[in-house]
Symmetry: C2
Subunit: 307 residues, 2 copies
């Protein structure tokens, strides 16, 4: 594979940055990869396990001379980091990010960007419930989507070069408007996460059911919620604070539907329940056909974990 | 392994009955296994793939001479089936079931049971999103729980013999009161299923987000909901109609919590969100430690399905 950037600076060294580093290295996409993380321990780990060639105590130092800078920090600090690195960005550098919301990040980052750089917001739809530099793996983006929400005035050649990078890391690339991105993600990710966090909280609270029972008997459905509700708290706090409108809109729709099904249960309307459950079954098949999940029963999860 | 029953009759030949047949066969737990299903096609399949030694057009014929009869039909028809088989049950036979609710099944089945049989309600907490006789596999119950909700007057020796069968099929066995079972399952299974069914319905409905987008971008969280919402519609309709009170109670708690988090989003209360998300993370670790799920990121789901 051809090298696409001479020096890539990753700001933030968690699951996504770590996976990008490993994927770029494996495919020889970057001449040099450097990084910055606020925590000294994270920086040491990233060096130690060979994610990056060098680490820096400040983001400003890390971006010096980089032709690609990727902000891999929580959504809530994107603006501060952008402001800090702005005076140190190289002529013609591309600045991108991997944040889960796009409108708020554009509003926070764009005003700080000097004219001589290309700011290209992007969002890889990939991740696991684990976090930190050790959680990364080179295959994370394989056959996953990376959504680009470029501003209309941005240089096309720079956008295409960054899209080539994501394709070379295994992702499928698509462009859309930032507001539409935020609505789509409210449906496919943000609201499902809030619901899972809520249900796990309810179970944890319930005095009449022992915690041990919730844990032992979780295989009946609940454990899939706990996986989602084990995701990084800082990341998710920032997602909800920064995609407030779309999340609240979809939550409103969700509550409306829930009350409708709840009423069907109360009234004993079996037909309505059956019709609803039949309709939702079809969408699963489409997701498997689209290659976004496995058809193996129960995700192919082994029945004898730990044996 | 010692043979525990001479003749086992499985009424209903879906995922659970098929898995029981394969697990009993593998461990030599039953002399003969026969079955009944309403559909001629299901009966033919069950014979064809060797789940059972013989099939019968009626449940009444199937139970003749059986020392164990297991009702593996949807909750809503348990009573009718019990009534039909009652006059044909052998002296001293054990009659059990695998239904997901227990109070309603006891109410529906117990009145039909003659004095010369032992009715022992049970519920294996195992399953996948697939259904039908071909969906069964011998390992389904391995390290999963089978909850018994026996009536106080039931013969202990018969209960223990049936518990031996479940243990020999790989399950962990526990006894509890039927009402408590229904509450615990409302938390760990029934409410999570209703929530998943609801969210998938919302996504499917949403005019402003194309169906293709929901499917392509599902890997961001939503796809785990679609797996749950792909479960058998008849089974789940009956679960909600027959565990109405406990499900509505837990749904009430859920809605209360959801509104609280929704309000935190609206007010921008990051601290409340962060605290909640931190608390729910801990419960995941307990489930993995209890051997009820895998610690592999994303369930160890391969990144390149279909490649």
């Amino acid at each position: 594979m051809t090298q696409l950037y001479n020096k890539v600076a990753l700001i933030g060294l968690g699951l996504i940055a770590g996976s990008m580093a490993l994927a770029m290295r494996r495919a020889g996409l970057a001449g040099e990869i450097v990084g910055h993380a606020r925590s000294a321990e994270t920086r040491a780990t990233a060096l130690d396990i060979g994610l990056v060639d060098a680490v820096f105590e400040t983001a400003a130092e890390a971006v010096e001379g980089a032709d690609l800078v990727v902000l891999c920090v929580p959504v809530g600090v994107m603006g501060t980091v952008a402001q800090e690195i702005a005076p140190h960005l190289a002529q013609g550098a591309t600045v991108s990010d991997v944040g889960s919301v796009k409108k708020a990040i554009i509003d926070a980052v764009q005003p700080h960007m000097p004219d001589h750089v290309h700011f290209i917001p992007a969002h890889p739809l990939a991740g696991t419930e684990h976090s930190g530099p050790r959680a990364g793996f080179a295959d994370l983006f394989q056959n996953r989507w990376c959504l680009f929400t470029p501003l209309p005035e941005t240089d096309r050649a720079s956008i295409e070069r960054l899209q080539k990078l994501w394709s070379a890391m295994g992702a499928n690339v698509e462009e859309m408007d930032a507001a539409h991105h935020d609505l789509v993600l409210a449906v496919t990710s943000h609201t499902p996460h809030l619901i899972a966090y809520t249900m796990v909280g309810v179970a944890d609270d319930l005095q009449r059911v022992a915690n041990k029972e919730v844990i032992d008997f979780s295989a009946a459905g609940f454990r899939d919620f706990t996986r989602i509700a084990a995701s990084d708290p800082t990341m998710w706090r920032d997602v909800f604070l920064n995609n407030k409108e779309a999340t609240l809109e979809i939550l409103g729709r969700f509550t409306e539907e829930l009350f409708d099904l709840q009423r069907a249960i109360r009234r004993g309307d079996g037909e309505q329940l059956f019709d609803h459950f039949t309709r939702t079954r079809a969408i699963r098949r489409s997701i498997i056909d689209a290659g976004q999940d496995t058809a193996a029963p129960d995700f192919g999860r082994g029945p004898k974990e730990g044996d």
